[in-house]
Amino acid sequence: MAVPLTVEFSGGLETLFNNTRSIKLSLARSDGSDSPPTVADLVVHLCAKVMTDKRSELFVIDGFHVRPGILVLINDADWELEGEEDYVIQPGDQILFASTLHGG
């Protein structure tokens, strides 16, 4: 089951994604099953298909875990309130990855 969503990058993270600030995509589960995808599936997809910079360690560490210091907002809410990587993506969701690691 593919789910349409919007993904945004900010705080300098856009430089890893060809300076794109916002993309729309349709996402299915990475294991091929029919259940709806989670944020973990999204991160795998972004690393494999969307990221243009080769330094994936600036986005994920220890496999496909979002690097500490990168905030994830699901429909503007802190992903810590939504189950983080286990959050099941709903159609039309807006997911923002914002780096706090860049200079102020």
Partner: protein, 363 residues
Amino acid sequence: MPQPREPAQPPSTCIVPPRSVPLSTTCELCHNRKPYLRRPKTGQKICQPCFFHVFETEIHNTITSRKLFYRGERVALGASGGKDSTVLAYVLKVLNERYDYGVEFVLLSIDEGIKGYRDDSLETVKRNKQQYDMALEIVSYKELYDDWSMDDIVAQIGNRNNCTYCGVFRRQALDRGAQKLGIKHVVTGHNADDMAETVLMNLLRGDTARLDRCTAIITQSADSPVKRSKPLKYAYEKEIVLYAHYKKLDYFSTECIYSPEAFRGTARALIKNLETVRPSAIIDIIRSGETFALERKSGGARLKELKLRTCERCGYISSNRICKACVLLEGLNAGRAAVQVNGAEDEPAEGLALHKRLEHLSF
């Protein structure tokens, strides 16, 4: 007489009006709205209006409890166009109006002369000037330091010690900019993560002299006529970024194009990893830094003996015969002359000699 705090009541005895949302999913402060974030400092899940209120009020409390400003004071705000200084400018404007501090804030920006980095962020500062209705002063390395921009410096010395140059030059440039404006106080956007990172770095380096004072909210060093303060010292970077995002503040985010200090980067990554497993770690590290009681040996006495004098070259206040900026400039100018006369061969020796001299200077 203060009442002893009541133990938490079991839910059955709480008087709560019926709501369409379960209590467990409402803001832990107003119990009314949907929570939008978890505060790293407290673990509380709170809504946007409550977040704005606590974030601003904590900064206000820092300002008043530490008496950072006085009525009628003119204060320069070190503005880079990045998230921290933009949030600082916005919040100080809000608080100055809300609590009537009676302080005049002026934006002060340094143009290091780094193409593709500083020129873009300065455009943001120019918009902030309009948005926050503050005066703006820009001072450049090129005008202060014998026509050297950071791009020129890196072209000459390479990519290794450039942060040293930039650090020394920026510090003095902020002072000179403030003096140009007749201002004796500069506030900077250093946040809690920056503070924790600095404590950790000083600890890991065994730099006990700095460890002792790096958490001070107001700093005034012997070789500077201008005091510095850090109103965002207790504000988490996460909350600063969320505040800027929810308030839709106009800021610029990019990394300096020249290689950053590897040691600082490693300390930074460590802080962020610690925050993931224990969010209060950042504020706890600052607390540790503030309460370290270090045994005074000869170092403390030596500091007091340092006499204030002026640099023989530029007349600027310095703790040495020649100020740090002029020492660096001397090396750069000698290098430039050497390049013009001999080509680049003499340059590494010059750099080494300069480094030796720097090691003997007290920072």
